[in-house]
Subunit: 378 residues, 2 copies
């Protein structure tokens, strides 16, 4: 069977791109936002709401899923799509980032990383080959190479070492991925911290190896937005134009608009659901902290013109009450509202790019976040 | 405007009754199960799922709502229906039961009960008149009289004192309720513990005062199912046949079937949602504890023939995983599955009563809970 994976550029507008990624489980419209389904669930949100919000693709975390319920178990249950009853495309990360951020004990060697599970304390080895094997077992449409992600700020020597190791792992992953079913795609990950020379070397080397798409990793790990956007702006043009570009772990609505303007096609971030659970709503009028006391008597919905029923139907007073009363429904509703907001932000970007007015769209969107703040915001 | 509240008996089958309660917010098909929306939310479940499950009416807790967000605030926001965006009928309890069970300090006098709020420690007075006033402010379709509920076992003298006090409060409530908008109904509550003579005196006295419906309170408070059903079976026939009968706080699917067979029309209970959050699913094949390890590899849904999408679409392995991984979605899905189960149980009872086969329906339902246990259950 021919690999259904393909990226089609539909329109460009400056550096911004609109396109479609075809996968075995359907089309992903780009630029795309991928809600994060860490443990085979988008936290607190029913799959139906994720789809209704407009997500074409979700992300699953290899680190979490390999530890619990286990990759072999998921495979025996028909793969991640069947296991979690999500019929649309899935991208899985390689597990590298979570090993670095979650494991209480880890050792990185040429062969891979050995770490202590944060769940049961067992020692687990994650090699580039095993990272791919796990993702093949999970059955994701898009797999990611194993990489080593260094928190910033970091010494150049350390960033360079991790970047070079990630490149060698990229080759191991590519080799192991040859055994994958033909309907899967593998992305390489550009590392190099905030050093543009290292980023360039990483990007060129990955392109030489050849992947189905390219991610920019190692950002949103402590650096300023200015540094992040500088690296993105300089790195994206070095990546093959005919393949999708994914900025890992980014970010706020503002980050995403800026990165789309620099040629990024795919995003993932926990912000819409994590902030939602903590009472922060993303709206056209900017972020609103629904826990603030002045919402207690406010009969207005968060956004009467939203496409999201929860943003239209429930008053700010009611949402405020749910958080004050500790009702989990509050976090669920705000998570859904935020997922709709992110999807609509990207849908607006796609339309704007297709009609060559992305710069105006980004400027107007940002202006609205602040212009109406006096009457709407927190 | 004429009071739209009316109860129509559609069919009887032995002591079992099927009917309809008309309210200003719609029809309640009886026997009815009312999901509990303690703090203006059914815990962890979206309103849409509560409606989809088939609930015609939900219950709100006066004690909780008067403390937070406050009855006057809810009234200013348009009443409980508008506040929580629930357009169908709502019954509110009187707050008496929660004062007894939740308040760390309370004092019962002839005038009412004074208690310390479990939220902020403030001293609050709840008189029969205030209980009605709060419910008028909330705007519930059915209000309940303030009563004093005694935990069983208890001395007869204590049960009798509380029963007599509840009768005097019933008169105060009735009087105060005369100021309520005409589209509301008020129910009296039979007390008397496990003493049938006291129950009879309470029931007759309440009927003399005259209410729109009658509840049996003070059960499911520590007594055996046998005692509970004996009291229900003896008390229900003493209540006016032309008005609805509500058994407060009951119960398991078995309790409900037994009570329907004894002439009860309305139920409320936290079991479907509370047990759902704790991993217990009610199914046609009996209760299933999804946290048990042997579900981890089970690809079967909880019930492939359920009307509930979550019971059909998600495997036991996936639901098990959600609980093991601490994903709140697990509790939400099982709560929804249980609400569908309870509604379908009552819908089946209504149909069976209408076709004079309720005894068979109850027997077959109970048989199925155990007959298929070897292949399906926990």
């Amino acid at each position: 069977m021919a690999n259904p994976f393909a990226f089609s550029l539909i329109a460009t507008d400056g550096a911004a791109r609109a396109g479609e990624i075809a996968t075995a489980h359907g089309i992903v419209r780009t630029p795309a936002f991928m809600p994060v389904g860490t443990q085979a669930a988008i936290k607190g949100v029913h799959h139906d709401d994720v789809r209704e919000a407009g997500a074409d693709i979700i992300l699953g975390n290899t680190y979490h899923l390999m530890l619990r319920p286990g990759a072999e178990r998921v495979a025996a249950l028909g793969g991640l799509h069947a296991f979690m009853h999500w019929p649309l495309p899935i991208l899985t990360d390689s597990g590298g980032y979570q090993v670095m951020s979650l494991s209480p004990l880890r050792k990185v060697t040429e062969a891979g990383v050995t770490f202590r599970s944060h769940i049961d304390g067992a020692m687990v080895e994650l090699t580039p080959e095993r990272a791919i094997e796990v993702q093949i077992l999970l059955g994701s449409d898009i797999a990611m190479q194993l990489d080593e992600c260094v928190a910033l700020p970091a010494k150049r020597r350390e960033v360079e070492r991790a970047m070079n190791l990630s490149l060698r792992w990229a080759e191991c992953c590519k080799r192991r991925f040859e055994a994958a079913p033909a309907n899967r795609a593998l992305f390489g990950i550009v590392q190099g911290g905030d050093d543009q020379a290292l980023r360039e070397r990483s990007a060129r080397s990955l392109a030489d190896i050849g992947f189905d798409g390219y991610a920019i990793g190692g950002l949103a790990v402590g650096e300023t937005q200015e540094v992040m956007l500088k690296i993105v702006g300089a790195t994206a043009p070095m990546l093959p134009a005919e393949q999708p570009r994914y900025l890992i772990g980014v970010g706020t609505p503002a980050d995403i608009l800026e990165a789309v303007g620099r040629g990024i096609d795919m995003f993932d971030c926990v912000l819409p659901t994590r902030n939602g659970r903590h009472g922060l709503a993303f709206t056209r009028f900017g972020p609103i902290n629904i826990k603030n006391a002045h919402h207690a008597d406010d009969p207005r919905p968060l956004d009467a013109e939203s496409r999201c029923p929860a943003a239209r139907d429930f008053s700010r007073a009611y949402l405020h009450h749910l958080f004050k009363a500790g009702e989990a429904l509050g976090g669920t509703l705000l998570s859904v509202i935020n997922l709709f907001y992110y999807q609509d932000l990207l849908a607006g970007a796609r339309e704007a790019i297709a009609s060559s007015r992305f710069a105006d769209y980004a400027a107007q969107t940002k202006e609205q976040w602040t212009a109406k703040r006096d009457i709407h915001a927190s």
